[in-house]
């Protein structure tokens, strides 16, 4: 059967048609926006930090009874505690390399500052996150050098975490280098950190390194990072450790024992809350927990919405098949084959779903525009709308199949036998 008589018959069932079309439109609008959000979240969750993330773990610990002053003697004492720990960790058989750092990507413990091309600039040229570590920092993180050189032991200084930050040399991420020097060749150039009047010289550029927070406030400078050759002294410390391949669990256990053997006067809080010896995989999972939650929530909403709409179509079509029982028999008597009846209902649904989809496209784009205004969502690519249209049309065809087949099986004798 072709379209005109199906359309003509639908005009007699306006209420049901409008209801289902509207439901399909809403489903389309919500589902394609939700899929877009899910896609974005998954992309966020999966983006690499720039480190070689396998086999990495982080130790956070605190010394008991360590000096806390800013004077030289206290600083030297704290630094010797730090170096003792680093030596102990380096001797663990399953440890490949280790470095002391203030923070690492995704840890959600941030040190950020402005970077300027000239001293005392009113507005800094770029904002960046800062990592402090020793000569093993690049190697342990596994970040790749794009230009220049890494830090050597001779470059590394130590200072109190409260002392002024005036590094003579720094390494920057490629993203930051591009922002500061769009012309390229950042190596050898000077920049000014915060309000410094003394320049810091860029000696190297790393390909990619993420800031230490995945929260939205860092969205504008996610890949702008600065590395300084500094061991920060305080009464607590963080060690980023790279285990030998496949030896992560063993190295985590052995490192703990090694630290206590070297110096028992310390606290490593193992409570679930602090979990102070954590694999990087664990840190990453926690950093993106909200994103994953959002993606799951959106998926659940999509599934429920599609199920409800599918059930609505099954219900309405079943009702119509019952209502038209007699006329289906008459059509069969007049020469309709089973396939003709099946096609009739499939086509009818395609028309309704098609109408719903047209309205749904408008709603979907409207919803996206509203989300862009209210929640700084990105513009949804047309592809998502098209995918949504394909999904609701397929849903309609699938949902209508069972009742349509029941209709096709109505025997032609119904034409003579029922009143």
């Amino acid at each position: 059967m072709t379209l005109p008589p199906i359309l003509a018959a639908l005009r007699k069932h306006k209420a049901g048609v409008v209801l289902i079309a509207l439901q399909i439109a809403l489903t389309l609008a919500i589902v394609c926006n939700a899929i877009f959000i899910i896609g974005q979240r998954i992309q966020r969750i999966q983006r690499p930090t720039g480190m070689n993330e396998g086999n990495l773990f982080l130790i956070t610990q605190m010394w008991v009874g360590a000096p806390t002053g800013d004077d030289q003697a206290s600083g030297d004492k704290m630094d010797s505690l730090l170096r003792t720990d680093l030596a102990a960790l380096r001797n663990v058989p399953d440890v490949e390399s280790v470095t002391a750092m203030n923070s690492i990507p995704l840890l959600n413990s941030s040190w950020t500052n402005g970077v300027s091309l000239k001293p005392k600039q009113q507005h800094s040229t770029a904002h960046a996150a800062f990592y402090f570590g020793d000569e093993n920092m690049l190697k342990t993180m596994g970040v790749q050098l794009a230009a220049g050189r890494a830090f050597t032991a001779a470059d590394v200084q130590h200072r109190s975490f409260r002392a002024e930050d005036k590094p003579p040399i720094i390494i920057v991420s490629q993203a930051l280098a591009d922002k500061l020097f769009p012309g390229g060749n950042a190596v050898g150039k000077s920049v000014y950190i915060a309000d410094n009047t003394e320049p810091s010289t860029i000696i190297g550029v790393v390909k990619r390194l993420q800031v230490s927070s995945a929260d939205t406030w860092t969205n504008d400078f996610t890949w702008n990072t600065v590395l300084e050759p500094v061991r920060l002294n305080s009464n607590f410390s963080r060690y980023l450790v790279r285990a030998k391949p496949g030896r992560l669990q063993a190295a985590m256990k052995e490192s703990r024992a090694a630290l206590f053997a070297a110096n028992p006067m310390r606290v490593i809080d193992d409570s679930a809350e602090h979990n102070s010896i954590r694999s990087f995989a664990d840190i990453r999972a926690k950093a993106y927990r909200a994103d994953r939650g959002m993606a799951i929530l959106m998926s659940v909403i999509c599934v429920i919405l599609l199920a409800v709409t599918g059930a609505g179509i099954v219900g309405l079509t079943s009702f119509w098949v019952g209502q038209r029982h007699k006329q289906i028999g008459v059509r069969r008597a007049l020469g309709a084959r089973k396939i003709d009846i099946l096609r009739y209902f499939q086509t009818e649904n395609l028309l309704i779903a098609g109408g719903g989809a047209v309205a749904g496209i408008i709603l979907a784009i409207g919803l996206n525009l509203w989300l862009m205004q209210r929640y700084e969502m990105d513009r949804m690519p047309v592809l998502y709308v098209l995918a949504g249209v394909a999904v609701v049309l397929a849903l309609g065809q699938a949902a209508v199949f069972a009742p349509a087949r029941r209709a096709a099986n109505v025997p032609p004798v119904v034409a003579t036998r029922t009143v």
């Binding site: 008589p5 006329q327 059509r331 008597a333 007049l334 309709a336 032609p412 034409a415």
Partner: protein, 240 residues
């Protein structure tokens, strides 16, 4: 045209088996107008649904226009219904969602006919039944007699060789019934074979031949006039 030999039809439900037709024999020649009569429940409608390929039968043989019906699959039956047979039902059976024009068009569409030819046939057959001016009306807006004439137009539009009518005037008053009967006679004169079930002896008398169905068996009155009386006696006794 239509030949049944030793045909039987059994309806099985959980509790009983009903022989709606048993050892049923009939031979309707091409171009004949046969009236089928008989008491209620005797098997008239059953005969017509089997003759029209709306239902399968249990035993025996049925040849329609030279084709052995038992061997046909569902699609082939649909095709024969569509091309060779026209149906007129007691309760009209127009499709309420479609207007008169679209109702008449239904079998033509299933035949895959081109639009221009469809239009021509629809208008021709509606004119024939005198309802061309009602093409855009819906069935609910027509009288019973008009609805039955639309149904006849629908049956005619495909120019079937065989017209099967199950009490086509059963729901109509005498005058409307007369109109429908005249229409059927017209169609017969033009060469169609007609089998019509009716309870009205007056209408039956206008057919060329009457067949009585009693207890699922056919009794041809014109051929066996003596058996005729006997049959009526049985009808009388059954109805008491």
């Amino acid at each position: 045209m239509l030949k049944m030999t030793h045909l039987s039809k059994v309806y099985r439900t959980e509790v009983v088996e009903t022989y709606a037709l048993r050892d049923f024999n009939i031979d309707v020649k091409e171009g004949e107008f046969v009236a089928v009569m008989g008491p209620s429940g005797s098997g008239k409608t059953t005969f017509l649904t089997i003759a029209g390929l709306l239902e399968s039968f249990t035993g025996g043989e049925y040849r329609l226009d030279g084709i052995e019906v038992r061997e046909l699959d569902d699609n082939a039956r649909s095709k024969i219904r569509n091309e060779k047979i026209g149906f007129v039902f007691q309760s009209f059976n127009l499709i309420p969602d479609l207007n008169v024009h679209d109702n008449v068009e239904v079998p033509l569409r299933y035949r895959g006919m081109k639009a221009t030819e469809r239009e021509q046939r629809i208008m021709q057959s509606l004119e024939r039944v005198g309802l061309a001016s009602r093409a855009r009306h819906y069935p609910a807006e027509l009288s019973g007699g008009q609805q039955q004439r639309v149904a006849i137009a629908r049956a005619l539009a495909g120019s079937p060789r065989l017209l099967l009518a199950d009490e086509p005037t059963g729901n109509l008053d005498t005058q409307m019934a007369r109109g429908v009967m005249e229409l059927l006679e017209d169609i017969h004169r033009e060469g169609a074979t007609i089998v019509m079930v009716t309870h009205d002896p007056e209408l039956a008398a206008r057919a060329q031949r009457s067949v009585h169905i009693i207890d699922g068996q056919a009794v041809d009155i014109n051929e066996e006039p003596r058996f005729h009386n006997h049959a009526h006696a049985r009808v009388a006794s059954q109805q008491i």
